[in-house]
C-alpha cells in the first residue's frame, strides 16, 4: 500500500514537472532569451567562489571572465569586430617612452561597475598596488617582476614605472584567452584577507551579472545588466541574450545528444565524429567552417616535442629523419578524420597568420634543402593540403572546397614529404644502425621512443600520437604511446618524457607579434633537468641564433613591421633545426546551434572572433547574437 502511495506521489510530481521539462532543462527562464553554452572546466568544485584574482580557487570560464571581467585591451584571435586590436577599458593603445621603461594608459570614461560605482584610475591603482604587496594572487608575480611603481596623474590616466625595459609589458593587460583583470576597489578594500575572499556575488565590469548558480558547480546563469550601456562592449551594440547559462554537459557523446535536443547552443569541443553526426542529423548545427572541416583552428600549434635534455634527441639529422617518417595525411586522418589544418612551419596556420607567414614563406620552403649526408633533398611538398582535400572529396563530396585558396585556408598548405630513404640516410649519418628490421642507437641499444599523450582529455592529440608511433614502429623503431592523463602537465613541465604531443607554440592569432610564446624560448629561461620549465619552451631547446632573434624582438615595438621579418628568421631557423615537429592547428570542434540564436562568428562571412566559448574574447560574440525568429 505504501509503495502504491509513493508511486502515486511520484507520478504527481512528474506530472507537475514534465510539462515544464518539455520546455527545456532550465526552470523559469525564457528559453528564447537564453543562450546555453558549454563550460569546458566541467563541474566547478568551488562554485560560490568568484574572486578570480585568487589562484584557481573557483571557476574561470564559468562566464566569469567572458561576461563579468574587463581590462585595458583585447587582441582577437581572428579578425575582430573592429580590427584585431580593441581598446576596451583603455581609450588608446599603450603609450611607451623611448626605452620602454614607462607605459601610460588612457582610460575610457563613463564605464560603471554593476553596482553603480564608476570605474576610474583609482581601481587600476588599487589593483596594481594590491598585487605588488600581496604575494600569492594570480598576477602578483607578474606585477612584482615588472612594476616599480604606478601613478595616476588624473582620474583617467595611469602611468606604470617599470623595473627594467619591457616592450611587451602591455601583454599582461591584453586579453588573449585571458589577461590581468581589474578589481573593484570599493569592494576589495573592505574584504579583509583577499586570499580568503569569495567575492560572491561578483560586482562586474562586463555586461552581465550572476543570476544564479548551482552550489554543486554544474551550471552558472548570467543576466544582462540593465545598464549594459555603461560597459565597454556597448560601443558595438546591445548584447543579444538576456540570460547566458554556462553548463557542464558531460562527456562528448552527451554534448552531441544535448545539442540534437536543442538544449545546448554552443558545444565547446567534441570529437570529429561527433561533429559529423551533428552536421548530418541537425540542420541547425554549424561549425566555424560551414562545411568540412567545421572546426575552429585555435592559434596553437600541436607538435611532436622532443626532450632536448635527453641525449637521444641531440642530433638534428635524427630529428629530421623522424619528421620524414611521418605521413601527415595519415596523421590528419587518424587524429581529425582529415579535418585538420596542417602547418610545416613553426607558427600555427590560424587567424591571420597564413597571410603574415605561411603565404610569404612558401617560396622559401619550396627551395629549402637538407643534406642527408649522401645527397641533398628538397623535403617540402606544397600539395599535401590539397592531397588531403582530394582524398576526402569522394566521401564528403561538395563539402570539400575546390578553390586552392579555400583549400589552403581549411586544410593548410604543404608539409614534409614522407621519405624513408632519406630518413635511413639521415639516421645512418647520425650513427644509428639497422639490423634486420630493427634500428639501434649509436651506443648499440634498441632505438625505443615513448610518446607521451594526454589521453581522453584531448582525444585528437592521443589519436595523432598513436598514429605517429605506428609510423615509426613500421620503420623499425620501437615506438609506443604512454597515456599521461592528469600527470601530463607535471611530466611536460619537469621534462619527464622522451617525446610528447603537445604545443610549445601559441600566438595572438590576429596580431603577428610572436613574443607571446617566443620570448620564453630564450636560453636564459631553460631549467636544469628535473626542475620545472616555465611555459612554453617545453622542449628546452636553445640556439644562439634564436637568442639573437628574441633579443631583437624585445628591442622593437609591438607593432613594428620588423617583427614579421624577425618572425620569418625564427621560422627558417626551426625548419633547419627541427627542434620540434609542427603538425597542425589545434582544431576545436565548437558547434553552434542556430535554433534559438544566429549571428555566431564563422570563417566565411563573420570571422569577428573566436567562437570557442572559454575564451574571454567571446564577450564580443554576445553583441552579435540575435534571436532566431
Amino acid at each position: 500500500m505504501r509503495i502504491l502511495q509513493s508511486l502515486a506521489l511520484l507520478a504527481i510530481a512528474w506530472a507537475f514537472d514534465a510539462p515544464a521539462y518539455a520546455q527545456g532543462s532550465i526552470s523559469d527562464l525564457p528559453r528564447k532569451q537564453t543562450l546555453i553554452v558549454e563550460n569546458p572546466e566541467g563541474t566547478v568544485k568551488n562554485a560560490g567562489w568568484f574572486n578570480i584574482w585568487a589562484v584557481n580557487a573557483g571557476g574561470q570560464s564559468t562566464g566569469l571572465h567572458q561576461l563579468g571581467m574587463d581590462t585595458f585591451w583585447y587582441i582577437d584571435p581572428n579578425s575582430g569586430v573592429d580590427g584585431v586590436w580593441d581598446n576596451s577599458l583603455a581609450s588608446e593603445k599603450p603609450i611607451y617612452n623611448a626605452d620602454f621603461t614607462e607605459m601610460t594608459v588612457k582610460l575610457r570614461k563613463g564605464i560603471f561597475w554593476s553596482d553603480g560605482v564608476e570605474f576610474s584610475a583609482a581601481d587600476v591603482m588599487y589593483t596594481i598596488e594590491t598585487h605588488m604587496k600581496t604575494p600569492g594572487l594570480r598576477w602578483s608575480a607578474a606585477v612584482q617582476v615588472n612594476v616599480a611603481g604606478i601613478t595616476a596623474p588624473d582620474s583617467s590616466t595611469v602611468v606604470f614605472k617599470l623595473k627594467k625595459p619591457n616592450s611587451r609589458f602591455h601583454a599582461l593587460f591584453t586579453v588573449r584567452w585571458n589577461a590581468m583583470w581589474m578589481m573593484p576597489k570599493h569592494i576589495f578594500e573592505k574584504a579583509g584577507d583577499l586570499i580568503k575572499f569569495a567575492f560572491d556575488p561578483p560586482v562586474t565590469l562586463g555586461p552581465y551579472v550572476v543570476h544564479s548558480y548551482d552550489p554543486n558547480g554544474k551550471w552558472f546563469i548570467w543576466r544582462k545588466r540593465p545598464d549594459w550601456q555603461r560597459t565597454t562592449v556597448a560601443r558595438f551594440g546591445e548584447p543579444g541574450p538576456t540570460y547566458v547559462a554556462y553548463i557542464d554537459p558531460g562527456p562528448p557523446d552527451k554534448r552531441v545528444i544535448a545539442q540534437l535536443n536543442h538544449e545546448l547552443d554552443i558545444i565547446h569541443d567534441t570529437s570529429p565524429e561527433g561533429m559529423f553526426t551533428l552536421a548530418k542529423q541537425s540542420k541547425t548545427s554549424r561549425g566555424w567552417f560551414k562545411g568540412f572541416p567545421y572546426a575552429h583552428p585555435d592559434p596553437t600549434l600541436p607538435m611532436v616535442i622532443f626532450n632536448h635534455q635527453n641525449p637521444l634527441f641531440k642530433s638534428r639529422d635524427m630529428r629530421w629523419a623522424l619528421a620524414l617518417l611521418i605521413d601527415m595525411k595519415a596523421v590528419s586522418m587518424a587524429s581529425y578524420r582529415g579535418a585538420a589544418t596542417i602547418s610545416a612551419i613553426g607558427v600555427p596556420p590560424t587567424g591571420r597568420y597564413p597571410e603574415y607567414y605561411h603565404e610569404p614563406m612558401e617560396a622559401w620552403l619550396k627551395d629549402f634543402e637538407i643534406d642527408t649526408g649522401k645527397r641533398k633533398i628538397k623535403p617540402y611538398d606544397p600539395t599535401v593540403g590539397k592531397q588531403i582535400a582530394d582524398m576526402l572529396r569522394p566521401s564528403m563530396g561538395d563539402q570539400i572546397p575546390t578553390d586552392p585558396k579555400e583549400v589552403a585556408k581549411a586544410f593548410g598548405r604543404g608539409w614534409w614529404k614522407p621519405d624513408q630513404q632519406a630518413a635511413t640516410e639521415l639516421l645512418e649519418r647520425a650513427g644509428f644502425t639497422k639490423r634486420g628490421n630493427e634500428w639501434f642507437t649509436p651506443d648499440g641499444k634498441r632505438f625505443t621512443i615513448r610518446i607521451t599523450v594526454e589521453g581522453d582529455l584531448r582525444p585528437v592529440m592521443t589519436r595523432a600520437g598513436s598514429m605517429i608511433a605506428q609510423q615509426w614502429r613500421q620503420f623499425g623503431i620501437d615506438a609506443t604511446t604512454v597515456v599521461a592523463q592528469g600527470s601530463l602537465l607535471d611530466r611536460r613541465n619537469s621534462g619527464d618524457y622522451e617525446v610528447i604531443i603537445s604545443w610549445a607554440v601559441e600566438t595572438w592569432g590576429g596580431h603577428p607579434d610572436l613574443s607571446f610564446f617566443l620570448d620564453s624560448w630564450h636560453s636564459q629561461f631553460i631549467a636544469e633537468p628535473g626542475k620545472p620549465q616555465p611555459p612554453r619552451n617545453w622542449s628546452r631547446w636553445s640556439h644562439p641564433e634564436l637568442d639573437k632573434i628574441i633579443e631583437q624582438i624585445r628591442s622593437i615595438g609591438f607593432d613594428d613591421p620588423k617583427g614579421i621579418e624577425l618572425g620569418k628568421e625564427y621560422i627558417k631557423l626551426v625548419a633547419r633545426e627541427m627542434p620540434t615537429i609542427p603538425l597542425m592547428a589545434y582544431n576545436v570542434f565548437t558547434v553552434m546551434d542556430e535554433t534559438y540564436w544566429t549571428g555566431y562568428p564563422n570563417a566565411e562571412t563573420a570571422p569577428y572572433t573566436d567562437p570557442v566559448p572559454n575564451w574571454a574574447n567571446t564577450k564580443y560574440m554576445m553583441v552579435k547574437l540575435k534571436p532566431t525568429n
Binding site: E273, T462, G486
Partner: protein, 285 residues
C-alpha cells in the same frame, strides 16, 4: 574423470551449453594467434564499415577489422579476469576458512588484515598506482594489484560459512577422531563453500573486468594492449555510440555476455554435481 565429464555432457544440458559457449569464446580468443593484422596498427582496412561478409563484425573508426581486434581483446580480458580470480580465490579461501575455523585470536588478526583491505577505497589506490607505475603499467601488474585488493570481501563471506560449519556435528566428530585442521578444512568444509566459491569467482571475474573497463573509460589504462576496456576506450574517443558505429560496442559486449552465461551455466551445473545435499547424506550414513 572422463566418464564423469561424458555423463555431464550427456545428461546435464546446462553443462553442455556452458561448455559450448565457453569453447566458442576460447576458440575465438585463440584466433588472435593467426590474426592477419597486428593489434595496434590502425588504418589497415577502410573505417566505419558495418558488419559484412568481408568484415564479419565490421570495422572501427580507426580502420581496424573488429573481428580480429576482438580476438586479441577477449584473450587479454579473459586472461586478466582469470589471473585476478585465481590469485584472489587462493587468498580468500585460505584466509576465510582458517579464520572461521580457528576463531579466537587467529580470527581476530586475520580479520583485522582482512578489514583493512575491505575499508581501503579502491579507486584512488588504483589510479595512484597507475600514476606511480607510469610507463611500465601493464595488465599483468594491474591484475596482481586487483587480486591483492579483491579477496577480502569474499574471505569474509567464506569465513561466515566456515564459522557456522564449525558448529556442525560432523566437524566435532572429525575433531574428536583426530583429523588435522588442514584435512578438515580441505575435505570437510571446502565442499560446502564450493558453491559460494563458484559464485564469488564469477562475481570476482565480473568485478575485475568491470573495473578494468571503468578505469579504461576514465583513461587510466595502457592503450597499447587491446582489452575489452581499451576497445571501449577507443570507441569512446571516437564517440562511436552517437556516431552510429554501434558494432564497435555491441560485439565486444556480446562476447563478454556469452562468456559469462557460459561461466554461469557451468557454475550452476557444477554446483548440482557436487550438491552438498548428496554429500550431506553421504556423511549422514
Amino acid at each position: 574423470m572422463a566418464r564423469v565429464l561424458f555423463d555431464l555432457l550427456r545428461f546435464n544440458r546446462e553443462f553442455t551449453a556452458g561448455i559450448i559457449l565457453l569453447g566458442f569464446v576460447v576458440i575465438f580468443a585463440g584466433l588472435s594467434f593467426v590474426s592477419p593484422y597486428p593489434p595496434n596498427d590502425s588504418y589497415v582496412v577502410p573505417f566505419d564499415l558495418p558488419p559484412s561478409w568481408t568484415h564479419l563484425l565490421g570495422t572501427t573508426s580507426r580502420g581496424q577489422d573488429l573481428f580480429w581486434l576482438l580476438t586479441f581483446a577477449i584473450r587479454n580480458t579473459l586472461l586478466f579476469g582469470l589471473t585476478v580470480a585465481v590469485i584472489s580465490r587462493i587468498l580468500s579461501l585460505t584466509i576465510g576458512l582458517i579464520a572461521g575455523y580457528a576463531g579466537g585470536i587467529v580470527d581476530r588478526i586475520l580479520m583485522s588484515i582482512n578489514d583493512t583491505f575491505i575499508v581501503l577505497p579502491l579507486f584512488p589506490i588504483l589510479v595512484l598506482f597507475y600514476f606511480v607505475m607510469r610507463d611500465s603499467m601493464s595488465w599483468v601488474l594491474l591484475a596482481l594489484v586487483m587480486a591483492c585488493l579483491g579477496w577480502a570481501y569474499d574471505a569474509r563471506l567464506i569465513r561466515s560459512v566456515s564459522m557456522s560449519l564449525r558448529t556442525r556435528e560432523f566437524t566435532e566428530t572429525s575433531i574428536f577422531s583426530g583429523m588435522p585442521m588442514r584435512q578438515i578444512l580441505v575435505q570437510e568444509h571446502l565442499p560446502f563453500v564450493m558453491p559460494i566459491v563458484f559464485s564469488t569467482t564469477m562475481n570476482n571475474i565480473n568485478w575485475s573486468i568491470g573495473l578494468e573497463v571503468t578505469l579504461s573509460v576514465l583513461g587510466f589504462t595502457d592503450i597499447n594492449t587491446p582489452t575489452v576496456g581499451v576497445l571501449i576506450y577507443w570507441a569512446n574517443q571516437h564517440t562511436a555510440l552517437v556516431a552510429g558505429v554501434w558494432w564497435w560496442i555491441f560485439f565486444p559486449v556480446a562476447l563478454v555476455i556469452i562468456t559469462f552465461i557460459g561461466l554461469f551455466l557451468l557454475a550452476v551445473s557444477m554446483n548440482e554435481f557436487i550438491d552438498p545435499r548428496s554429500r550431506l547424506s553421504r556423511i549422514g550414513n
